[in-house]
């Protein structure tokens, strides 16, 4: 594509676009054990005053980890132009040593002039299969062809 260099993101074949997003198809990420190292690094980056419980995992850290896990699904990476927002619920605490993964599906999507909005439902699940956090994320995703 001649206009590729001017586009916001590389137009490689190994990408998923708005048109490729299928409603309701479940995606599951690999699992990851949350360690004390994650908690320490996160505390350093955020500067959050440490909680009284050293084995407690900050609630937002789990959401951050799920964003990285979200790329490790059996689908070419989605060309996300912007993360627009989310509505999130915290159901259960997460402890150091817990192993989390995320399960998601596209709840709905809406085409815009440039790109489209994808509403993703996501559950963060622990090693016992309990949903520890869940909610809806709103993503702006590129279209394969310019409108």
């Amino acid at each position: 594509m001649a206009s590729a260099a001017a586009g916001p993101l590389p137009r490689t074949e190994r990408s998923s676009y708005f048109e490729d997003v299928e409603i309701g198809v479940p995606l599951e990420t690999p699992a990851m054990t949350v360690t004390a190292a994650h908690v320490s690094l996160y505390a350093g980056v955020t500067g959050e005053v440490p909680a009284a419980d050293p084995d407690g995992v900050p609630q937002l850290l789990a959401l951050c980890l799920s964003s990285g896990l979200g790329w490790r699904v059996p689908r070419p990476p989605l060309v996300v132009l912007a993360f627009m927002g989310f509505d999130w619920k915290f159901h259960l605490p997460i402890r150091v040593g817990d192993t989390i993964r995320s399960r998601s599906h596209t709840a709905s999507k809406r085409s815009l002039k440039e790109g489209g909005v994808v509403f993703e439902h996501r559950d963060i699940v622990n090693q016992r299969g309990e949903i520890v956090q869940s909610g809806r994320l709103t993503l702006l995703v590129a279209k394969r062809k310019p409108a």
Binding site: A6, V45, G47, L60, C64
Partner: protein
Amino acid sequence: MVFYAGVGAQVPLSFEDIKVGEEFISPGRTVTEMDVVLFAGLSGDYNVLHTDAEHMKSSQFGERIAHGLLVLSIQQGLLSRIAPELVEPPMAELAWKFRGPIKIGDTVHVVARVSDKRSAERAGWGLVTIARRVLNQRGEVVQEGESEHMVERRLG
């Protein structure tokens, strides 16, 4: 009432002590390249938006932008420095909007206001809502949202 402070002592606060309408303004923090690189490594989110400086030159932003969740996390850290007793109680819900990009070198601060409090279904607990806005050095709101916290009621 406005508080500017460093790391304060954590005083346990009960539901009854929280005043609706009380406002807190955090210190500022400059978002650095190191923050973004560390956060990419920690979260595993290596989206080109945050990691490919050359590619981002041709984007609408002109350069790499910080992860929205990084700035959300920094915001939580900033608030914990001025009102730890307010943000420490666990969140039940968080609704958040990313309004604009945060570039490397931007300085953000948080304005938080207790917007509501009411009884929780669980006996002995209340729900406190905090409306939060993240502003950049030009006073533009780059992120905003509401967190709902479970706060213990005073016994007796």
